[in-house]
Subunit: 196 residues, 2 copies
Amino acid sequence: MLPPAAERLVHELERLPGVGRRTAQRLAFHLLRVSEQEALSLAEAVREVRARIGFCTVCYSLAEGELCGTCSDARRDRSQICVVETPSDVVPIERTASFRGLYHVLGGALSPIDGVDPADLRITELVARVAAGGVEEVIVATNPTMTGEATASYVATVLRGMTRVTRLASGLPVGGDLEFADEVTIGRALAGRREL
Amino acid sequence: MLPPAAERLVHELERLPGVGRRTAQRLAFHLLRVSEQEALSLAEAVREVRARIGFCTVCYSLAEGELCGTCSDARRDRSQICVVETPSDVVPIERTASFRGLYHVLGGALSPIDGVDPADLRITELVARVAAGGVEEVIVATNPTMTGEATASYVATVLRGMTRVTRLASGLPVGGDLEFADEVTIGRALAGRREL
């Protein structure tokens, strides 16, 4: 139905998350319609991102070169480390502009069913960072899911006695509606209630 | 917040239709997570599509080489030409598998407000194809919108007396609900009612 090169592009676009055949076709037609320069900029950006970006040698978030933007920023507070599952989890936390410490990206969450053991995550590296001294608090910001909670417990266990370990609060999302909140979330919100 | 190369990729992805900043970030992280080969295949497919694909010299739909797949297919019925606005409009019609003729892609629809005149569309080329003989029917399949309808009327006018010109039926979409149909569509469905 489409010329082979267009069919190949649709096929490659379909591999992107959340992109079905219709969307892939729409994107492919878009890339055929825009200026040659605009289409090639996208291709070049994909190549470049793979050529240039690797992991920060300290915190394992995305970095061009040895260190990520956070680790190389002298103004960041080195006494706090926020532990997240993936490099993309750094973005929403940075967006809050209320955390000024460093990060540590584990590279996933413990999940024995999927064969993810502590050895598969960068936990030894986290322990080494804390053992090197100067870390007053480790804030565990793994996802509030089964695997994220298991990972948080494990991290707390291995760091016990080395530093203070805290966990992001669970509760009602701001702007949410009590009526539509699930019972586990409401249970957590009750358990974590604060004095007014 | 992201390393420069990742930021550039997010920026390029954001230019795609229907892709906002969040989706662009999700796609960028995906392209960083998958195998290098998978990411580079996408970049290569974009390059290739721009290098190889042009317009069919007969019908102006997408083609690798001189002729598109339809125009070069000897089994297609050369007595029918289906007129569409854009190359992407060929896909849904081919999907029906109920049209065996050729196409003619106008390259848009008449819209004086946007400065699109008949001279901007491939109407002269359509007239030439019909004048060359052998065309028994021109089916106008421009969109059922203001500009698409204006284009259909214009095409019918210029082809008057040369061949039979028909228009796709307007009416209730199959599987649709009368209750949720707009009054213009229901009006068209009434006007175009058929004997049972």
